[in-house]
């Protein structure tokens, strides 16, 4: 059993709707996609979604190796990157390869990845996340109501630019989720738009009216002093970590008790790397929460983490050329029995997308907004539909 080659497909998607946060409240609808396929000599192919650049720089580390040796290969790739570090584009390549290796490992065992990783069942609690700063009040209600109809009773609202509007919209989200629970769970996400003290002031104002489970990225990703200060001064938990890329990056947050929840995803050095982060967090009594993913594929990993609370579901329409084996039921992502991540690529649709790339507004990812960390620049008239 050997790794023999790889190929990468790039394409562009137009999502079903705009997504936006405090940094770009007007939102974007275009999303670049990549599919990495890792080939073996046994007719099994590992698939990895989302990033496929720079694989050639790392492929030498795994070529000819047995793909089932996932963790050993992770160590080898990490060592391979010793001098320049597991950072930036190299880290993204390592992450993509690791995901594909785990897909192969589970497929060879002819089982879903959640079972390979040791989960008891393929079932992960979900929360709804609208990436919704670009949605009108009506669209906001419709999104969370649609989620609540699937039993999801917790939502995360994008906030940070307009206290009055955020208070109103928290109420809209709560009302929409109200059919799933008499007491819906409320979370907020500022995407690093504030300084720590701005966060304290803002969140304290929101907490006069709402009980918040967590506030996400209230300060910069690496600022353990600032994140801890926020955590100590508000009632809500502080969540962060989505923009850090390996255990070494996350370590100061855990060691300094700066965060209460760590957002994890495969971009943190793959399945292996994010599991390391979750395990270290677990040792310190800190919870983790899985980020949203195309076709919710990361739920397989979440199902097997000892300290996972709930996984983000966005569902903006990113599955144009994918077939998948999971669904949402009673507020949980329920994973099927298809081997690996249970993802298949619809080659015909992929070729169509590549031949006729769609066009639309903006393109992910977007830059940081003016004023961030220093002063608030509220949306200009016409920038968002709710102002």
């Amino acid at each position: 059993m050997k790794i023999t080659g790889y190929h990468v497909e790039h394409y562009l998607m137009k999502m079903d709707r705009l997504v936006g946060d405090a940094n770009l409240p007007s939102g974007v609808e275009m999303l670049p996609g990549s599919i990495l396929s890792l080939e073996t000599d046994e007719n099994v192919t590992g698939i990895s979604l989302g990033y496929g650049g720079g694989i050639e720089g790392l492929f030498g580390a795994i070529e000819g190796a047995d793909p089932r040796e996932t963790v050993a290969l992770w160590i080898k790739m990490n060592d391979w990157l010793h001098k320049a570090g597991n950072e930036g584009a190299a880290s993204a390549s390592l992450s993509a390869i690791d995901v594909a290796l785990w897909d192969i490992k589970a497929k060879l065992a002819d089982e879903p990845l959640w079972r390979t990783l040791g989960a008891h069942e393929g079932r992960v609690r979900a929360y709804a996340s609208g990436l919704d700063y670009c949605l009108s009040d009506e669209e906001l209600f419709a999104f969370y109501r649609r989620m609540a109809e699937q039993g999801i009773d917790t939502g995360k609202l994008k906030v940070g630019l307009d206290l009055k509007a955020d208070l109103r919209r928290l109420g809209i989200m709560r009302e929409a989720l109200g059919i799933a629970s008499p007491r819906p769970g409320l979370m907020i996400d500022a995407n690093e738009y504030w300084s720590p003290k701005q966060a304290v002031r803002y969140v304290r104002q929101l907490e006069k009216h709402y009980d918040l489970i967590w506030v996400e990225e209230p300060a910069r990703r690496w600022d353990y002093d600032g994140l801890r200060l926020v955590s100590q001064q508000v009632r809500a938990a502080v969540a962060s970590g989505e923009n850090l890329h390996n255990l070494a990056d996350v370590y100061p947050l855990i060691a300094n008790r700066a965060v209460d929840v760590i957002n994890v995803w495969t971009g943190q050095s793959g399945v292996t790397g994010l599991r390391q982060i979750a395990h270290m967090a677990h040792a310190h009594g800190v919870q983790v929460s899985m980020m949203n993913a195309q076709a919710n594929y990361m739920a397989h990993i979440a199902a097997a983490l000892p300290n996972h609370n709930m996984m983000e579901v966005v569902d903006p329409g990113r599955e144009h050329c994918l077939k998948w084996d999971n669904h949402i039921e009673d507020g949980f992502i329920v994973l099927g029995e298809a081997p690996g991540f249970g993802i298949e690529v619809d080659e015909t649709k992929l070729r169509e997308l590549q031949a006729n790339p769609p066009t639309g507004r903006g393109r992910f990812p977007f830059p940081r907004r003016d004023g961030a960390g220093r002063y608030i620049v509220p949306p200009a008239p016409g920038e968002v539909p709710w102002r």
């Binding site: 300084s195 003290k197 002031r201 002063y375």
Partner: protein, 359 residues
Amino acid sequence: MKVTGVKVTPYACPTGGKPAGRHANGGSIVELLTDSDLTGIAIGADEAVAQMERFVAEVLVGADPRATTAIWRTMSEVHAQRRREDPPATTIAALDIALWDLKAKANAEPLWKTLGGTRPRANAHAGSIALTATDRELTGWYGSLARDHGLRGAKLRVGLDEEPNLARLALMRTALEHGTTVPTLIIDAEQCWTPKQAIRRLREIEHEFDVAWVEGATDSWDFPGLKEISNAISAAVCVGGDLATRGEFLPHFQHRSADVIQLDIGIVGITGALELADAAYGFELPVTLAESPGNIHAHLSSVMPYFMSMEVVEPLAQWPVFATDVRIEAGWAIAGDAPGNGLAVDRAALGRAIVRAGR
């Protein structure tokens, strides 16, 4: 190009419309002379003329004024060696500003461009007025800044009695509502509180008001006290407006006893402000710039990665004895294209305002 000497002209003139609580506005025009036809200009503090002249003759004459960073280091070292008295920090800061003016003029470009910035559009807030200003003066001044210049934030100097502080904060907030629905409220306690007094006062204020930051919450050297205050209130604790050297800022960086760093180019110079702003950025601390004559601190805003806001006490283009190329529009400070820092001395007005030179 070489520095050949300095001309220092102390002046005093009546204050403008601002309720400043004093009858005269004073300072000195510092003109750094060179062997070219360029002159570097700075508005200095009320300088000891003879002392500045002596220092320039000793350290600057013969130097190429474009070597701003190297000269700053030399001046800072002399300042430190001589127990920060000969010359005082304000003297080397004024000379640094004049040197940067020369450097930009030598490039025939505005200072912001020489510094590496893009055209400044700097978030601005109103500086404080005298504690002795009447309620009517307070409402009138802040109201006009909000109405006519779009300022969205302002600083209130507070006193020892809490009742008037609360009442005046409400007046200031109402006045600012001409410009915004969410005014930025800033408090300056002038280091008159102990840490525990500060916590009691500020918590009472925060019961009613959302305060952005507080300056002078307690003594600026008391980093444990400032940290204690920061831990107990929602507002950011702002430190630095009266600090001059890196060594004085270090404890606040190290212990995070400041949530906002204030820099006064009249004390730390332009070079020092740039160095300290980068250090603050490394600690994720937003930077606010204290008032500067002619609002020339706007030039620095676009080269400070964590620039937050600059203090403005006089929003006009025409100051008593000089004109500036920085205008305040819709709450933003915008610098023009005049070479250097854009300050132009009004000789006639200066002639009427000169005070006896030297000390």
